[in-house]
């Protein structure tokens, strides 16, 4: 998923506390996928209720959002709509990869290789109707708004930040930056320790912020040129040019000025490149959304998660009680706000 330009985007580590009182437009699908992939048992089986319905995402949404609310961060979940037809190739490939991963998962399980089984299982995560419906229902019960994007969630999230309805986008992917999001916050949903891919090592993960204008100033390029670099490296809509990564891409685009000149010089082509550029420059977004926060409906969440999805009632109540306590505290004002 996403574009591979991370290595040229400078970011700054921040504390969750720095986001107190700020609205963050979360790339909802990105976050739900992360929960589906990471919240699993040791052998890779996702959390499930007694009916066999996956509940990993509900667990992630409950605990992570409780944490946000306690810190005073205000999340808004922006959910994907219809993918652009340009993305079909990527989606098709993803489906293939998931099928392949499922086979390898079963093979690893048979052999008793739990570590590999878990890795492979993580790659099979799928977004079903039940998962989307359940996520929306839980968010509503927690008083957290969600917004339906007409197409890509992160494009809509970027739009909401540009419009001033949110302070930053929250996502692991960089696409929102290409879509013009002034600020992107990463690692919001994976604070703590993260396993390094493919290795049995853990690293402390802190939230980090990427500021579009600072990136452009530092690289001394325009947003259009940043999009050009992304296309050279590969996006959800195109394969990159072989042998060109972010750093070489940056050098070439700066030297030649734009993507078209680079392609001409290299004697390469990217199909529909002007259409793809347009998808980032002027993505399909809507102004038809409402952002209303409410207080969590503790009994409602308990009825849903404990009554229907077999969560432990005492644990659900515990975490929500803490959230309710923090609502009380929110009424305490800050001395410096009177300056």
């Amino acid at each position: 998923m996403g574009v591979a330009i991370g290595s040229i985007l400078t970011s700054e580590e921040i504390d969750l506390n720095d986001l107190k009182g700020k609205m963050i437009a979360m790339d909802g699908y990105n976050i739900i996928y992360q929960f589906l992939a990471s919240i699993r048992q040791r052998d890779g089986t996702p959390l499930m209720d007694s009916q066999g319905n996956v509940t990993s995402h509900l667990s992630g949404l409950l605990y992570r959002n409780s944490n946000f609310l306690m810190e005073g961060l205000k999340p808004i979940y922006v959910l994907d709509g219809e993918p652009d037809v340009m993305k079909e190739g990527t989606l098709e490939k993803r489906k293939e990869r998931k099928k392949e991963a499922k086979k390898e998962y079963e093979k690893a399980l048979e052999k008793g290789d739990l570590e590999r089984a878990r890795t492979k299982a993580q790659q099979t995560s799928r977004m079903s109707k039940d998962i989307v419906q359940g996520s929306k229902r839980l968010l509503e019960l927690m008083g957290i708004p969600w917004v339906q994007a007409p197409a890509e969630g992160e494009a809509q999230a970027a739009h909401m930040v540009i419009e001033g309805d949110a302070w930053a986008v929250g996502s692991q992917d960089f696409d929102s930056i290409l879509c013009g999001a002034p600020r992107l916050v990463r690692n919001l949903t994976i604070t703590g320790k993260r396993k390094m891919p493919g290795r049995n090592e853990y690293r402390e993960i802190l939230p980090e912020i990427i500021v579009l204008q600072e990136v452009l100033d530092e690289l001394d390029i325009s947003r259009e040129q940043l999009i050009d670099i992304a296309l050279l490296c590969g996006t959800d809509y195109n394969e990159g040019i072989k042998g060109i990564g972010p750093k070489r891409g940056l050098k070439k685009v700066k030297k030649m000025g734009d993507l078209e000149s680079v392609l001409k010089k290299e004697g390469k082509s990217i199909g529909n490149h002007s259409v793809i550029k347009q998808l980032f420059l002027e993505p399909k977004v809507t102004d038809d959304y409402k952002v209303d926060f409410g207080e969590p409906d503790v009994d409602g969440v308990v009825d849903f998660l404990s009554g229907e999805r077999d969560f432990s009632e005492s644990r659900v109540r515990d975490v929500l009680d803490k959230v309710m306590d923090s609502y009380e505290k929110e009424k305490q004002s800050d001395l410096f706000s009177f300056n």
């Binding site: 305490q332 004002s333 800050d334 001395l335 706000s337 009177f338 300056n339």
Partner: protein
Amino acid sequence: MLHAKIKSDILRDLVDIVGTIVDEVKMNLSEDGIGLKAVDPAHVAMVDLKLSKEAFESFEADQMEIGINLNKIEQFLKLSSSGEIVTLEHVEDENRLVLEVDNITQKMPLLDTAGMTDPSVPQLDLPVNLIVKGKHLLKGVKASQNISDHIALSAGPDGFEIFSEEDEDMVRLSLSKDKLEELNANEEASSLFALDYFSSMIKSVSNDVPIKIDIGSDYPVVLQFAFAGDNGDVKFLLAPRIESS
């Protein structure tokens, strides 16, 4: 350079007062005495304190900043009794503070002051000012503590009130104008505060100390009083609780 002698009681008062806000503090030393400003991590309360050199038995210092761990000083003071003289000395080449009382010497490392900024004190123009004896405040706080976590301070041309409410319980301490040392009010003003902060701010005052209080509506309160005879001056600011954000 710092070389000073001070009564343990005065040092204890200072540690009590500042310790309600922070555990670590940056003190600004000058030849006239010491000054400090500190705000708690949640930005709810601030202290602005001055202690002139007259409060000391003897005082010599150069212009400098030192970072102090108040918990350590508090522990040290438990070894002293009332009326004893504490000697404070800064050992520059070790960057340690040496405290002596009776036959005990304790050395403690000074904290790095690089990350400790002087908070800027908000400039507030509060409509109601009054002066009240410490005993009234202490009693009002005690009454509120019986029933609530919050305390409302209200004042107007007729007097001053301390008020708390929780469910069906209510308690009020009313002081008419003639019970106050001073009252300047052309309008009514009222703000609500977290009682735990407020009570710890006044816990070191004695019954007869006049306390100057500035009140606004949904605005921070400013409390000002003297300690160490009249050689120390404390100003506390406390941010209000505001109904529905």
